[in-house]
């Protein structure tokens, strides 16, 4: 997870939280077509091909939680 020194370095400079930072770097800015791989805690979360915009960590985590629900298949 996030390095404490890294977070300490961010503190007090601007009014931002970790969530704000992640939301910004993943959702704001110029997109160039390309393939992207993002991993969290050593696990590859998302692999995207050409012309696909990266999903947010929040969305990815939500999908992960849904996938992990034990009775998901039974509800269909």
């Amino acid at each position: 997870m996030a390095d404490n020194n890294l977070l300490a370095g961010l503190a007090g400079q601007d009014e931002v939280s970790l969530l704000d930072i992640l939301d910004h770097v993943l959702n704001a800015g110029v997109v160039i077509h390309g393939s992207l791989v993002i991993s969290l805690a050593g696990v590859d979360l998302v692999y995207m091909g050409l012309n696909v915009v990266l999903t947010s960590v929040e969305t990815a985590l939500r999908h992960m939680r849904l996938e992990q629900l034990p009775d998901r298949a039974g509800r269909r």
């Binding site: 601007d14 009014e15 970790l18 910004h24 704001a28 800015g29 997109v31 393939s35 992207l36 050593g42």
Partner: protein
């Protein structure tokens, strides 16, 4: 050799570049078509994908913010990975006029943001019995979010050059474009209002990514 792109700025801007970027890798620059692009090279895409995402994202943010404190810039979305410098050059060749125009227009500007959470700010979350009730609730929530956005706009109006808001999953996001030297005044006014409105949060200053394109408003 794949590269991770950070941001671009006017080639004439004088800035001090951080010594290292994501995963401690050296930051290099490419100057073409009146723009200067910052990036780091990695051995392979696999190497890049093995670096924990949150730490990489924070390191990416630190590089961009360090440069943004010194000059106007346009950030790439993280993680923008290109095969080589030629691919980056090709992108600049195609889009340089648009980027240069935006950088000139936004030279002294920053973006502040206000997040309005649906649950707390609008008192929503109650169960509804029918589709009709649900639609009414949605309409009322949208109206309340807009009203909250308008309150912030009115409170910060003297410093706002442009204002945009849009509904997002779970609330509304407001974007204010202002001059760098107006940040402190804007923060004071927005914070004072935020304290009386639960579920609202201020963040920034950010590079003005929401205002890269000119819109009629």
């Amino acid at each position: 050799m794949p590269l991770l792109a950070y941001c671009m700025m006017d080639a004439t801007a004088m800035v001090e570049v951080p010594s290292a970027g994501v995963a401690g890798v050296r930051i290099e620059e490419l100057q073409e078509f009146g723009l200067r692009c910052y990036f780091s090279r990695f051995e392979s895409r696999e190497h890049l994908s093995r670096i924990p995402a949150v730490e990489s994202a924070l390191a990416f943010h630190q590089v961009v913010q360090a440069l943004f404190r010194q000059a106007a810039l346009i950030s790439f979305r993280f993680p923008t990975v290109l095969e080589n410098q030629e691919e980056l050059r090709q992108h600049l060749r195609e889009h340089a006029p648009r980027y240069a125009k935006a950088l000139t227009r936004l030279r002294h500007m920053v973006q502040m943001e206000i997040n309005i959470s649906m649950g707390q700010a609008t008192g929503s979350g109650a169960e509804v019995a029918s589709g009709r009730e649900y639609l009414h609730q949605r309409r009322d929530q949208a109206a309340e979010l807009k009203a909250t956005s308008d309150k912030f706009f009115q409170a910060t109006r003297p410093w706002v050059v442009a204002w945009r808001d849009r509904q997002i999953d779970g609330g509304m996001r407001c974007y204010a474009l202002l001059h760098r030297d107006a940040v402190s005044c804007f923060q004071q006014a927005a914070q004072a209002l935020s304290q009386s409105l639960p579920g609202t949060r201020l963040s920034g200053p950010w590079p003005p990514a929401e205002f890269l394109e000119v819109k009629d408003s």
